[in-house]
């Protein structure tokens, strides 16, 4: 019973991190209709930015998150403005290919720049943990979870209550009408993509504190983000939290009761099932 409680807590902590990983993907997909196959590569780059900040400038990974986010925001803005805006109106298939091409480029550039070695962001408190009844709470994972929840809720409030957030939602609903109301689409698309990439970068910084990083982690993180975004639905950041927690708990339970190699089977199996049964997501509106 204690073991089950521990597993559920581990799954929940992991799930919070998963949610923030998928948040940017869902935003970019939902608003810009770009399915970003390079999403995981941006998470990987964010992890490297945080790693460099910590290793060379000794900036705590949690305090360094805003810097990571700003760096990734700039990269995201430049990529959307300079490259992805060129193909936004092309058939869906071309956007899939171009973002995959980006994934390949970013992965190889990362390998050239940072080598293929495994790295970890290891602040002095990495090994500490809190005891809560029979359950152990590792400090780094708890911190990553709390940051993830803050980022997700912040994202939700931003979309609901700010001018820019409203403009983004208006664009998602109707680009032509939004343009009539004075939204400059090229800039707005770039800002939206940049916010998505900044979130991916922040998620990468958090991921680096709880797990090892190397240039090749992107592909599987992209796939996980898809699973979460689709399970939760694209309309609503709260759906993404539910999707993240669901996947984190399912993976932890599968690892315990069936075996670690089945964790991926479980998450992708659920993804395929949800796609077939309810493609708008468990919490999404019915089409």
């Amino acid at each position: 019973m204690d073991l089950l409680a521990q597993i559920l807590v581990n799954g929940t902590l992991l799930g919070g991190l998963y949610a923030v990983m998928a948040l940017g993907l869902a935003l970019v997909w939902g608003v810009l209709n770009i399915v970003n196959l390079a999403h995981g590569a941006f998470i990987m780059l964010g992890a490297y930015v945080s790693w460099h900040l910590y290793t060379y400038l000794h900036i705590d990974p949690f305090l360094g998150l805003p810097i990571t986010a700003v760096v990734m925001f700039a990269l995201g803005y430049a990529l959307q403005r300079g490259l992805l805006n060129l193909i936004v109106r092309a058939p869906m298939f071309n956007t899939l290919l171009i973002t995959f091409g980006l994934e390949v480029v970013l992965t190889y550039l990362a390998q050239l720049a940072f080598s293929a070695d495994f790295r970890t962001i290891n602040p002095p408190y990495a090994g500490n943990s809190l005891q809560w009844g029979p359950v152990v709470l590792p400090v780094a994972r708890l911190g990553a979870f709390c940051m993830a929840i803050v980022l997700t809720l912040g994202m939700w409030l931003f979309l609901l209550h700010t001018r820019l957030g409203r403009a983004i939602r208006a664009t998602a609903q109707n680009l032509v009408a939004a343009r009539l109301y004075g939204v400059e689409p090229r800039h707005l698309y770039a800002v939206t993509f940049a916010i998505g990439i900044a979130l991916a970068g922040a998620a990468g910084g958090l991921y680096g504190t709880v797990s090892q990083i190397n240039p090749y982690i992107g592909a599987s993180l992209t796939a996980k983000s898809f699973a979460i975004a689709i399970i939760g639905g694209l309309d609503n950041p709260l759906g993404v939290i539910v999707g993240g927690l669901f996947l984190g708990i399912v993976e932890s339970l599968t690892t315990l009761y069936i075996g670690p190699t089945f964790a991926d089977v479980a998450s992708f199996g659920i993804l395929v099932l949800v796609l077939i049964v309810r493609p708008t997501g468990l919490l999404g509106k019915t089409a």
Binding site: I87, L96, G101, L102, A223, V265, I276
Partner: protein
């Protein structure tokens, strides 16, 4: 098609078929790889190019074909040919069982579902003792590159003839109708479900055969390399680069990209992968309809061809 076209293609096939007699070992090995990639691109062309369903799951067929041969030869001590048939059976069963639900999905959702399928398959196979789990299987070696080369070339010719037949058959017109307007096709009396599943299975058969030949040739197979998603993207980009939805485009794309990639990796190893990514990005922006379309239109429009492509799709 004019007579001199047929003559030219026949001559090209003869030149290619003769490579093992006058080419170096390196060229033959490069040829086997490039020809098998061309088969994969042609296989993808059926479901992606003609039917318009962007399958990211064709590497599953490739893996099933490879495992079909490996399991038959290593575990059951059956000949290679039986393994090829076994692999094809696996691919067709997979295409029918998973094709029916997955082919109901459209656009992005279909692409992502098929993307996930190859990951699921890799994870499942790495837990099956018959398939050698994580460790994989080692096939009996057969040092006969000439045979593997001719097999690959023969398979490519058959795949291409099949697609040529598609372009003038009722079945092929049905697929194109589905690509252009699926609801319309259904109204016109095309059994869209049946046609899509058949296209998926046909594309799977060629991918599985290519996988079987590749497995026997390199004599080693593990789940990660058999169900490699980047292989799937390679076949897509080769088909798109040459011209998806044309008979010869995928071959031109596969052979030219393989040659450039091979040249780069012999010069600077780590740059070859990077090059591939850059080609994908540049090709999608500058010539989204492939080389075939570029050659046709470049004569009329000149360099404006590229800027017109960008203008057509930018925000």
């Amino acid at each position: 098609m004019k007579a001199w076209h047929i003559g030219l293609i026949g001559a090209a096939v003869l030149v290619l078929a003769g490579v093992p007699w006058y080419g170096s070992d390196v060229l033959i090995q490069f040829g086997i790889n490039a020809l098998l990639l061309a088969v994969l691109a042609q296989g993808w062309n059926i479901i992606g190019g003609y039917t318009g369903y962007a399958s990211f799951g064709n590497s599953v067929f490739y893996g099933l074909g490879a495992y079909g041969v490996a399991i038959a030869m290593v575990q059951w001590h059956l000949p290679f040919e039986v393994g090829m048939v076994f692999g094809v059976v696996l691919a067709v069963v997979f295409a029918v069982l998973l094709g029916i639900p997955v082919l109901r999905l459209k656009g992005h959702y279909f692409a992502i579902a098929t993307l996930a399928l190859s990951q699921v398959m890799a994870a499942i196979v790495s837990n099956i003792p018959l398939a050698g789990q994580n460790i994989g299987l080692v096939l009996p070696p057969l040092n006969n590159d000439r045979l593997f080369y001719e097999l690959s070339l023969g398979l490519l010719v058959i795949a291409t003839l099949t697609i040529f037949w598609l372009t003038r058959s009722r079945f092929g017109f049905g697929l194109i109708a589905i690509r252009e307007n699926e609801e319309g096709a259904a109204v016109m009396g095309v059994n869209t479900t049946l046609y899509k599943v058949m296209a998926f299975a046909l594309s799977g058969i060629f991918s599985a055969l290519a996988g079987g030949i590749h497995a026997y040739w390199i004599t080693f197979l593990d789940p990660d390399s058999a169900f490699d998603i980047s292989l799937n993207v390679k076949m897509i980009i080769m088909a798109v680069f040459g011209g998806a939805g044309t008979v010869l485009g995928p071959i031109v794309g596969a052979l030219s990209l393989s040659a450039i990639s091979e040249f780069l990796s012999s010069e600077v190893t780590s740059i070859a992968g990077l090059f591939f990514g850059i080609v994908i990005v540049a090709a999608v922006v500058l010539m989204p309809r492939g080389l075939a379309d570029m050659f046709r239109r470049f004569r009329k429009t000149g360099w404006r061809y590229f800027s017109e492509n960008i203008r057509a799709h930018r925000l």
